[in-house]
């Protein structure tokens, strides 16, 4: 696809942040993703984040009903959706009230006039007399009040649509206007509309008319003092797509199972923000993907354990409350030494907490959330596209080490998206299974399920294989034979083995590299999981400012990379920013650096780059 409308000269800027906001019913997420695609095609680097309202839909026009979508894009590398926005699009008063704080001073506001009528003001809890579009309260912004509804209706008139249907095209008008303002290609969206409304030509052309009407409004209305141009980013050449974390995670699992030649069995129970993984996987049955929507999370993980026993790649996924319920069965899987991936898309807790908000406060639960000494490897995804590789690695480790593996994601990267220079399946590393038992695994004619190789990994004799019948269970077992044993020293032995086996995965992970900065010095920022992009951006900014800071990001948290101690000891200050009260910090303090400095935020939101840079400057000075 290519852009049909030749770009008129525009002010060249190297990055921009736009936020669309309106009522849940206004189709904000849709224009967000269309703008994202158009931007990707323009070869800018980008990062996006949808800001959903709480799960239940609130009445139209209320603050609770506001839905938002933010995108940052630029001609250089972009690792976050951006802190504050340059342009804020608001479809109604509530949207403005809720989002104004995110707009940079002097930023552009594009407001849908009708969304500020008496009714909408009331619903937003604003005095009738206090219409912000009129009372001057927005004077130090560049305010554009557009009668979107009116123009849209005119644009689509003659197609015989009712006002309701006509008004549904408002979002396309706005999108068109933004396409003009930021010089994005319009054709791809036109095609998208054609496809989407293939069955209803009128609706299709109405939306397309609205789209162009918006574009032309920008062109003709002279309202804007010029438009912007963002040159393509100098990112590595290759073929790209845009992807969200949950989709990438689902693909990573499918790819791993496919590479291993196994069925993917996903046992789960719906929960925000993990459900999309189920939705995606259930679409791909032709990849030998079996999704099992269980009656609860306990059955979900149990079914996956059963499937793993049978030789499938068993995976279960959930979020906070559901993970709590899986802990007993996680202990069983650890004891059985069966491959299993447990996905936790973290959300803001505790208890039901704030399901649509993000947090990374389940790390210590991943470590210690089971009774007894129950070590399970932990890997954490660091960005939307990294969810693919993290999932692949988790599955590979589970299969090659015959162990459950916990994969941590979070609401921020799960719903966020970024361009992805996706790999070819051939490039994905091979997965060596343990299920090929044969006579060589017999000890004088008998097979024992807990014989181990030098890495302490047992074999995986699958039902159907004659002569290898074996029983495994959750009671402490004698090593090698797997027979029930209450022997004191055997229990110590098995406890040590289970611990050592996880530590042996360090060899599989390999040494970790600094993400940025000098290999030794004053300040090291140590991050894990979804904060990667923000911290990376902050570090780049700081280094550009001439502040000496390095960045290390952990993807594997259990075991820690073998060279972590060395790296941590090469810096005088270790700063650990986390969207929790200091969970990785506790582990680092206990094992490596009791003087580590915490930077914590528990607000259901990701860090802003500024929060990090400010803190580092504070520490540094």
């Amino acid at each position: 696809m290519e852009n049909s409308i030749s770009p008129k000269e525009g002010k060249i800027i190297d990055q921009a942040v736009i936020r669309f906001a309106g009522d849940s019913g206004d189709g904000i997420q849709l224009i967000g993703s269309e703008f994202t695609n158009a931007t990707a095609i323009s070869q800018n680097d980008l990062g996006t984040f949808p800001d959903f309202p709480a799960e239940i839909r609130a009445p139209v026009g209320t603050l609770a009903g506001v839905s938002g979508f933010q995108i940052q894009f630029g001609s250089h590398e972009i690792y976050t959706p951006g802190d504050n926005c340059d342009t804020l699009v608001v479809m109604n008063a509530a949207a403005l009230k809720k989002n104004l704080s995110t707009l940079k001073s002097g930023g552009i506001i594009i407001a849908n006039e009708e969304g500020f009528d008496a009714k909408n003001l009331r619903l937003a809890g604003i005095e009738a007399g206090d219409n912000p579009l009129k009372n001057g309260s927005l004077d130090n912004y560049e305010l554009h009040t557009v009668n979107v509804s009116k123009i849209t209706r005119e644009a689509v008139s003659g197609l015989g649509l009712g006002t309701k249907e006509a008004d549904r095209c408002k979002n396309m008008f706005v999108l068109g206007l933004l396409y003009w303002l930021y010089d994005r290609p319009i054709i791809p969206t036109e095609n998208f509309i054609q496809k989407k409304f293939a069955k209803n030509a009128d609706i299709a052309s109405a939306n397309i008319r609205a789209l162009y009407a918006g574009y032309n409004y920008g062109e003709t209305a002279e309202a804007f003092n010029g438009r912007f141009e963002i040159k393509p980013a100098s990112i590595p050449p290759g073929v790209y797509r845009n992807i969200t974390g949950n989709i990438a995670l689902a693909y990573g699992l499918i790819a791993a199972a496919d590479k291993a030649g196994l069925q993917l069995f996903y046992g789960t129970y719906p929960i925000t923000p993990a459900s999309d993984i189920l939705h995606e996987l259930s679409k791909h049955k032709n990849f030998n993907v079996l999704t099992f929507q269980a009656e609860d999370e306990i059955a979900a993980i149990s079914s996956a354990i059963g499937a793993s026993y049978g030789g499938a790649l068993g995976v279960t996924g959930s979020s906070g409350p559901g993970i709590d319920l899986k802990t007993e069965a996680m202990g069983l899987a650890m004891m059985l030494e069966l491959p299993l991936v447990i996905v936790n898309v973290q959300r803001a807790g505790p208890s039901t907490g704030m399901p649509t908000k993000t947090e990374q406060a389940d790390l210590l639960q991943a470590f210690f959330g089971r009774h007894g000494e129950s070590p399970i490897p932990i890997v954490a995804a660091q960005s939307p596209s990294d969810c693919f590789f993290a999932a692949y690695e988790a599955a590979k480790a589970a299969l090659e080490f015959m162990t459950p593996v916990i994969l941590l994601s979070d609401g921020f990267i799960a719903n966020g998206s970024e361009p992805w220079k996706f790999p070819q399946s051939a490039e994905l590393s091979d997965i060596t299974l343990r299920n090929n038992v044969g006579s060589r695994d017999m000890i004088n004619g008998k097979y024992y399920p807990y014989q181990r190789d030098e890495r302490l990994v047992r074999k995986w004799a699958l039902p159907g294989k004659a002569g290898f019948q074996n029983r495994i269970g959750g009671i402490e077992k004698e090593d090698v034979t797997g027979n029930i044993s209450y022997d004191a020293l055997n229990h110590q032995h098995m406890t040590n083995i289970r611990k050592q086996k996880v530590e042996n995965i360090a060899a599989f992970i390999g040494e970790i590299q600094l993400d940025n900065g000098k290999s030794e010095g004053d300040i090291l920022l140590l991050s894990w999981g979804g904060t990667y992009g923000t911290v990376k951006t902050a570090v780049i900014e700081l280094i550009n400012e001439g502040i000496e800071v390095s960045h290390l990001h952990l993807r594997w948290i259990n075991p820690f990379p073998s060279n972590l101690r060395d790296i941590l000891s090469s810096f005088s200050k270790i700063i650990i920013p986390e969207i929790n009260m200091g969970q990785l910090a506790l582990l680092i303090k206990a094992q490596f650096r009791s003087d580590a400095i915490q930077l914590n935020k528990v607000q259901g939101l990701p860090f802003t780059v500024k929060e990090i840079t400010d803190f580092v400057r504070l520490i540094e000075s």
Binding site: A40, Q43, P236, Q263, N286, S303, A312, F468
Partner: protein, 355 residues
């Protein structure tokens, strides 16, 4: 799942020509750890007797259990097996069977394991109806934890946790299963080996989830709970053995019959002049309402004029199995879309190239 989709899972079978085996081949080297005199011994023996007759490859058999005395079962069967956690055997077995329809999957569970902590998986198992054989050891007590009451314990039963007697009314397992759309429910007892063997066979033959409730004596914590059904003395009058297509007859000299007056079962004396066998209730395993009435022949056996307790197959229904429906969808999507290609999947339908 279909061979096409996952060739290697079936390797065991392919490598091995149908090997026949005997009960002895099912015995493991583990010494059996139940209390001397426990009813579990008999059940183990009958299972080991019946299985070789089912012509299933031994290596295709998996026993899955939860936790409880009964749940130690898999360690005593030289098949594949999982001794899992309390109440979850049904869920684990569902996952296994759905992913591996080629296996013969058995669940061994107790009244606490299945009906107390495992109750939710139990009813959802029945709803989904995978082809599992569930052996429910009902001893009306928690044996392994040394004698607390269970959801099948009788009202007033004095146990470690009910010193003044149980105040809850027990589940009626037959009724619960019927209410949850069970496609097969049968009842037998540890002390009637022949009948138990027959019921195990029937359960195995049924396609879909078969529930076999086995009255099992816990001679340590609830001794004699079922003696009234098992003792020579009382058995004839207290038990009613169901046979498909046959009238409901019981008693010392099979001299008692059961008629249905409306929906009410009534005992008639077959010796009595006026009565005949013709108007007796004819057992029909396919009749849901009759099965419901049978399930309600559950009253306290010490009550005056109570009815005998039915044993045998209460109900059987042909319903698609869960694993078939699931794998059918899977195969259909392969047929319609073709076997998925990872590179197409990852690429998706909107890409752009950076030169």
């Amino acid at each position: 799942m279909s061979d096409l989709l996952n060739p290697d899972t079936l390797s065991g079978v392919l490598e091995n020509p149908a090997s026949s085996f005997t009960s002895k081949d099912l015995v493991t080297d583990q010494d059996v750890r139940w209390c001397p005199g426990c009813g579990d011994y008999s059940i183990l023996k009958q299972v080991q007797t019946v299985i070789p007759q089912l012509n299933i490859l031994k290596e295709n058999i998996v026993f899955v259990s939860g936790i409880g005395c009964s749940s130690r079962f898999p360690y005593y069967m030289d098949t594949y097996g999982i001794h899992s956690i309390h109440g979850r055997a049904t869920a684990i077995a569902t996952g296994l069977k759905t992913s591996r329809p080629d296996l013969s999957v058995w669940v061994v569970t107790g009244d606490g394991d299945a009906l107390s902590i495992g109750g939710n998986h139990f009813i959802h198992l029945l709803r989904r109806n995978p082809d599992l054989n569930v052996l429910l050891f009902n001893n009306q007590i928690y044996g392994l934890t040394k004698g607390q009451y269970s959801p099948t314990s009788l009202e007033g039963q004095v146990t470690k946790s009910s010193p003044l007697g149980v105040v809850e009314s027990p589940f009626n397992p037959a009724a619960l299963c019927l209410g949850a759309d069970s496609s097969f429910f049968a009842r037998s007892m540890d002390r009637d080996p022949k009948h138990l063997q027959e019921m195990i066979k029937r359960s195995a033959e049924h396609s879909g989830t078969s529930i076999l409730e086995i009255y099992q004596n816990c001679n340590v914590f609830n001794d004699g709970a079922f003696f009234i059904f098992t003792d020579k003395e009382t058995k004839p009058m207290e038990t009613l053995f169901l046979e498909q297509g046959k009238p409901l007859i019981f008693g010392e000299s099979r001299n008692k019959g059961i008629r249905l007056e409306g929906f009410t079962p009534v005992v008639t004396d077959l010796n009595a002049a006026e009565s005949s066998q013709d108007d007796l209730w004819i057992h029909d395993e396919r009749d849901y309402v009759k099965a419901t009435i049978l399930s309600r022949m559950f009253d306290n056996n010490y009550m005056e004029g109570h009815l005998p307790r039915p044993f045998g197959v209460f109900y059987q229904k042909d319903r698609p199995t869960y694993e078939n429906s699931v794998n059918l969808q899977l195969e259909e999507s392969v047929t319609s879309k073709g076997r998925g290609k990872i590179d197409d999947l990852i690429r998706g339908n909107q890409v752009w190239e950076v030169k």
